[in-house]
Symmetry: C2
Amino acid sequence: MSRSALYENIRAKQSFLCIGLDTDIDRIPKHLLASDDPIFEFNKQIIDNTQDLAIGYKPNTAFYEALGPKGMESLKKTMDYIPDDLLVIADAKRGDIGNTSRLYAKSFFEYYNADALTVAPYMGEDSVSPFLEYDDRWIIILGLTSNKGSNDFQHIESKDGIKLHEQVLMTCATYGTADNTMFVIGATQAAYMTKIRKRVPDHFFLVPGVGAQGGSLSEVAKYGMNNQVGLIVNSSRGIIYASEGEDFAEQARQKALVVQQEMAQLLAQYADRLS
Amino acid sequence: MSRSALYENIRAKQSFLCIGLDTDIDRIPKHLLASDDPIFEFNKQIIDNTQDLAIGYKPNTAFYEALGPKGMESLKKTMDYIPDDLLVIADAKRGDIGNTSRLYAKSFFEYYNADALTVAPYMGEDSVSPFLEYDDRWIIILGLTSNKGSNDFQHIESKDGIKLHEQVLMTCATYGTADNTMFVIGATQAAYMTKIRKRVPDHFFLVPGVGAQGGSLSEVAKYGMNNQVGLIVNSSRGIIYASEGEDFAEQARQKALVVQQEMAQLLAQYADRLS
């Protein structure tokens, strides 16, 4: 999916919501466990009930890997099921030397047919560049993450006064372009978003951490929105586990609707920024 | 596997060789393609022919993931097949927020029953600590990698004069102990090994990059060996693809034997360092 198509989707749906399919066999409603593939059945119903409110879905691959080969089948079926006009992000946080990253690219962009893959920056350019050889696919590089451990290394200041996450953004921005590279910037890091936005004005950010992790959507929009919105805000647990009952998909829809409505409001509020 | 058991194995076998099972369906001998599971069949014959010369095997999970669920079945069969007294390293370079890393730990330490897992440090402590809750298992954290891209971030110097990879070693060493944590230090980085060894004197290093990537085994031993050897040197392509014919496993054995003999020599040469 191109950047312009993504922006058009956001405008059309008045939403920059991505729904995280962190589907945990221990948390899905019990009545689904009787079906052939409970994980896929759960995802299918979530997708059926929320696809008009979201611009993408982000399966976290760990949840599927934890179930072995059968889980990977559920992942494949889920990714195939997501309609083509929605962004499919495989949240796998991969990264290895070149010949290995090439295989991960093959796996996620060919076999699973994802539009985007999250990748870790620590190993530098050759760990990332194989993913950039695919047209209309995205890599989403960890920039400043939402978790507590982000303080361990991401804020280390170089002798030139540049924090590690800023250097990661600046250097990784040179690997590709704003048309094939995004960055993960946690919603809990809104205080740094203004400075981050100056470093990479055009890139889309994938923003986790709204909801369960405590980030604020309005702050993210205030400090992070650029002239093509430039934000994909992910919510996982706060939406998909809205109910443990048979009404789980309808309840998920209600939660997604609340977020989408807040997003529509924010898009109106910052309309003067948009191109 | 405990650190003392690992050291005992190294002494008994006079080897600190780990064989990387980067098994690529496009590179294995053609006669294997007729079997039910060519990847497993290849690995099985490699393991049968080299297990007395190596102290561990390291399947790079990307090679298996690239084949979808069937590939993950080959991975599981391979890992189950490796004898218990050899270290099984899942080279997956995972790392995510705590609740997700917990799932990766479940996947690799419970489902695949690996002894060790490679992990990426960028997201800090909570991305790593779930793996440390397992007894007798290891995390192997990326320190200074063997690839060209390692220059992008790993050598950034902080305002306190500490390079990023050194800070990663020092900080990550506090998450666990030398009994459950190792570091990846590329063989191509031997020039930095003395300084690195001072930062983490007791930890084992997993050392890729000997062979195809051009690192020198004798330099790694000279600068990296500690009183319990502290080195696991991995070789993948240089051993497993020694021949494309029906004699591939025997030829792999010959290549592994050459490395093991050099290792025995180095263990003798530095015997005064060993406890």
